[in-house]
Symmetry: C2
Subunit: 244 residues, 2 copies
């Protein structure tokens, strides 16, 4: 008899239940911000005990997929919430105060994705992308220059809508308009010299050191959704990273 190698297929019941519920959330069975069925309902539906459902949903809550409120219910997480804004924005004033920035649009264009973008956004050749630029302001002063790149196929009509309205936050938009929920991101930080363009927009001398933040945002299944390169003036702000 063949010796059993590694773990063949053991998966706890609660993890299987979790997979099922996550898939239903991913598929959009419940709108963002609305309530899921109660634990008892799930338990009855899947024919398991309440405790098992609890553990499944608890993990989803830990991964910020849902939010639970005692006495009210379990709700699909939404970027409309303040909580989510804060999770994805780490720039803090040197006085320790985190203030969400306003935005000023600097234009938007559509073009073919270059090799680098193809790889980071997992696109095939000849796919087009939308590239938007914005200046983010805190207390009406420019602090960050952002260049946002998304797939034109994934967000159809995004380019056309750009000029008419420029909402401050994008993730809620992706969520409500295109059904794509950003659930995680990776940021690579480095110190670079502000080029002419960056310097001008941030109101600093050309050659000033700025913090470059290269972020890729992901949706379910580690699928990349958006690339965002930010140049941040760290004279009066910094990037806060908490190691807990």
């Amino acid at each position: 008899m063949a010796k059993r190698m590694k773990a063949p297929a053991f998966r706890p019941l609660f993890a299987q239940i979790k997979d099922l519920i996550v898939e239903r959330v991913r598929a959009g069975e419940w709108q963002s911000g609305t309530a899921l069925p109660s634990e008892h309902e799930f338990a009855r539906h899947y024919n398991v005990s309440q405790g098992t459902v609890r553990k499944a949903i608890a993990e989803m809550a830990a991964e910020n997929l849902v939010e639970r409120y005692r006495g009210k219910g379990t709700f699909v997480a939404s970027h409309t919430d303040e909580r989510e804004h804060s999770r994805f924005f780490h720039i803090v004033g040197n006085n320790g105060i985190k203030q969400l920035p306003g935005s000023r649009s600097l234009g938007c264009r559509r073009c073919k994705a270059n090799k680098e973008i193809q790889e980071t956004l997992d696109l095939s050749e000849n796919q087009t992308v939308v590239i938007a630029e914005r200046l983010r302001l805190i207390d009406d002063k420019p602090v960050i220059l952002e260049t946002i790149t998304v797939s034109d196929d994934m967000f159809p009509g995004f380019y056309d809508a750009w000029n008419e309205e420029t909402p401050n936050e994008f993730y809620p938009l992706y969520e409500t308009e295109f059904g794509t929920r950003v659930i995680a991101a990776k940021e690579k930080l480095s110190a670079v010299t502000a080029n002419e363009k960056v310097a001008q927009h941030l109101g600093v001398d050309s050659g000033t050191p700025v913090l470059m933040i290269d972020r890729v945002a992901f949706t379910f299944g580690d699928q990349p959704v958006e690339r965002r390169v930010s140049y941040c003036n760290t004279a009066h702000h910094h990037y806060l990273s908490e190691l807990l």
Copy 2:
């Protein structure tokens, strides 16, 4: 009858049990890396059910205070582990590979804490601090210049031991030699210009942008333990921040 205002003092049983066990860990009742009593033993000792103890210890595991291994036991977390090194070191090569750096000592001195250090390390006036400088090398090339500041009172003998041996990692040292476990840290990142000294040690031109990382490390009860200011050459490395 007075209306009950807010929550008066309700604390779940498992949270109380957790507090008790955390306190015993903090007090050093079990050495780093050694096993805690089993869940059943705790349950018997505190006269609660195993599930309640489980939940208490599960939270401690989530906070990286202990590590659990099925079939073996629950162990007090230790900076000796690879896991912990990685948790507190976020510099990654631009090729995506994380390599823990070597060190070259640049000296160590003892002096009175200035106002700023007094505040960040929560020291009283006239307390002395030890300030050590090191160069951190990856593939034998200098990447980070570190300035480490700790209280002389908290780590007595640290200064004297410095010249004889300069271990690569400090947190294990704090833990084994002084009984102080670093359990969390906050890092403020900004882009600055390399001054003459930084430039020379990192082997870059003076004026080159470098990533400044200002870290404060904490032990139990949010007590600050160490301040570490790093200047990092981000030409071939970057700081990786994962938003999960």
